[in-house]
């Protein structure tokens, strides 16, 4: 483990862990039948999925646009071929030609091997949607991965990492199992750190009545101190009435990545409960790519009530304050060369592109664009929670980040070993911290609000 007939697979959740996230795993002898039933339900529900099943002409434009294929050279990682793993089943059971002519038209009977193939390949796709950007038909292969992962979840096949995160979200409202006392202790520690380093008093209100509810990524509490510090410094600088809700210290929503039907909805409900309880006027989102997609694009349809609060991203807020000259910034406080990694979900799902540049240009001296960038950005290789660290999957992560490494190197920011790779997303950070070492890029990984916080000039 974790290998199945020469395919890499992430370590999977045990049956007991699946029950924690409300799934009774389907026994092997019923899996095929159940998978078909779920596939039938999904195809009737999602036209985006049917479009991918019916319209692809195998032109191959997606191949060279997929960092997973470029890094692994495994033909099954070409987006259209990955979709084919499910398309051949779709054809066999849900199309006339497939039912009549079977293999002659590329249809295939479902089997346990096929399901295991789904598990391997749908968890090598990072749902980054660069292939969708390149597809002349507008097929969004990410929708196929969504369907594949959802069916696997219902069958009881989910990576241990994702299952643990799902259970933690329900238990404490964040991905890392961080309870309120730990949240408060960490924030008090960061207040002291800010005082020591920047000489300003920055309180982090928790569960206080306020106008702004700030949703940080829980990884910031363990790994990304300057991301939390930067956000706190920004809110303090503008004199905001703000608070962090202890019940939702999570900008991410792994439900988007493996179970949109329950896990993702549950976290939306939790968020809206917190906003209602604290009586806030606005919700501001922290640095998390998939989580911002889940918030901006999915909350309106997943909410179980009218959403009365505007939901904005921290960097949209900061960019507004910069454009209106309300922040005094000294870029010289960030003198090292910096390049920006556009998180896929910001760039291709949320149009959070130019505001990132407004913030970075105002905060650093030497900003160098990576090419390609913006909506043509390549994924860090960890997208959709491919952060597995068992030896086989870790090796795969190195391959999946190879394209990004090549692009970072081409900017020259790490040439003297003192570059900064700005990656304003927690999954990107968690992936890139070790990967910049593996690829010897000579850069340090930082968030964007980290740089902004450092550049603030206090009165």
């Amino acid at each position: 483990m974790p290998k199945y007939k020469d395919m890499v697979q992430p370590v999977r959740a045990t049956d007991e862990e699946m029950r924690h996230i409300h799934i009774d795993p389907v026994p092997d002898d019923e899996k095929c039948e159940k998978a078909l039933q779920y596939l039938d339900e999904m195809r009737k529900k999602f036209r985006s999925f049917v479009l991918a099943m019916e319209s692809c002409v195998k032109c191959g434009a997606c191949a060279e646009n997929c960092h997973t294929y470029l890094g692994t050279k495994d033909p099954n990682n070409i987006p259209t071929n990955r979709a084919e793993l499910i398309r051949k089943i779709y054809k066999r059971y849900f199309t006339l030609e497939g039912r009549w002519f079977g293999k002659l038209v590329g249809a295939e009977d479902i089997s346990l091997d096929i399901i295991e193939q789904w598990y391997s390949y749908f968890y090598q796709c990072s749902e980054c949607r660069r292939c969708a950007r390149a597809c002349p038909f507008g097929i969004d292969t990410c929708e196929v991965t969504f369907v594949g992962r959802q069916i696997l979840h219902w069958l009881g096949i989910v990576p241990k990492l994702h299952a643990h995160v799902g259970a933690a979200m329900e238990r404490v409202g964040n991905h890392t199992n961080l309870p309120k006392p730990g949240i408060v202790d960490t924030l008090e520690f960061l207040s002291e750190e800010i005082m020591d380093e920047f000489g300003v008093e920055v309180p982090f209100p928790v569960d206080q009545p306020a106008e702004i509810m700030y949703i940080p990524s829980s990884a910031d509490f363990l790994l990304n101190p300057y991301t939390l510090m930067g956000a706190g410094m920004f809110f303090t600088y503008i004199g905001a009435s703000w608070t962090i809700p202890s019940t939702v210290t999570e900008a991410g929503n792994f439900g988007l990545l493996f179970d949109q039907m329950f896990t993702q909805r549950h976290n939306v409900t939790r968020l809206l409960d917190a906003a209602q309880k604290l009586g806030v006027k606005k919700i501001v989102w922290g640095e998390c790519g998939h989580g911002w997609r889940a918030a901006k694009m999915y909350i309106p349809t997943l909410a179980d009530r009218p959403v009365r609060w505007p939901i904005t991203h921290l960097h949209d807020e900061i960019a507004y304050y910069i454009r209106t000259n309300q922040l005094k910034l000294d870029p010289a406080k960030n003198p090292k060369p910096v390049t920006l990694h556009d998180p896929c979900n910001y760039a291709r799902a949320c149009d959070l592109i130019e505001n990132l540049r407004t913030v970075i240009r105002a905060s650093v001296v030497d900003f160098r664009e990576m090419t390609p960038n913006r909506e043509w950005t390549f994924c860090c290789g960890g997208g959709s929670g491919i952060l597995f660290d068992d030896p086989e999957m870790y090796q795969r992560r190195i391959q999946l980040s190879a394209k990004k490494a090549e692009l970072v190197r081409a900017t020259g920011v790490g040439a003297n070993g003192d570059g900064i790779l700005c990656a304003p997303c927690s999954i990107c950070k968690a992936q890139l911290y070790p990967m910049v070492e593996e690829h010897k890029l000579g850069v340090e990984v930082k968030g964007l609000v980290d740089l902004l916080g450092r550049a603030l000039v206090w009165k």
Binding site: T186, A219, G385
Partner: protein
């Protein structure tokens, strides 16, 4: 579920080699994991990190922010990697009997 045998006591571990029940931890368990992690000898600095992690976990049911761990123990991150080659989360937490950190870490 796999298990390890330390001084005749069977202790359950998960697929990543972390102990399942933090209450089953004792110093011999830490020494056992040290061998697994390729650490020849547990020095005072190792114990300082392990004990800090255990105390923090007892109080807050979570591992501390890495920056806080460094500050409170006086060990730089680089030094912690020297002490625990697989790092603070996967190495030090394992020896201290904490659950494996989850999420985007």
């Amino acid at each position: 579920m796999p298990s390890i045998n330390v001084n005749g006591v069977e202790i359950e571990i998960d697929e990543d080699g972390f102990i399942v029940d933090p209450d089953q931890w004792n110093e011999d368990v830490a020494k056992y994991f040290a061998q697994v992690e390729g650490i020849n000898e547990l020095t005072d600095d190792h114990w300082k990190v392990i004990n800090y992690l255990r105390d923090y976990y007892k109080q807050f049911q979570i591992a501390p922010m890495i920056r806080k761990l460094c500050k409170e123990t006086g060990c730089s991150l680089k030094y912690i990697y020297e002490l625990f080659p697989t790092g603070p989360a996967k190495g030090a937490c394992k020896l201290a009997g904490l659950p494996k950190p989850t999420g985007c870490v």
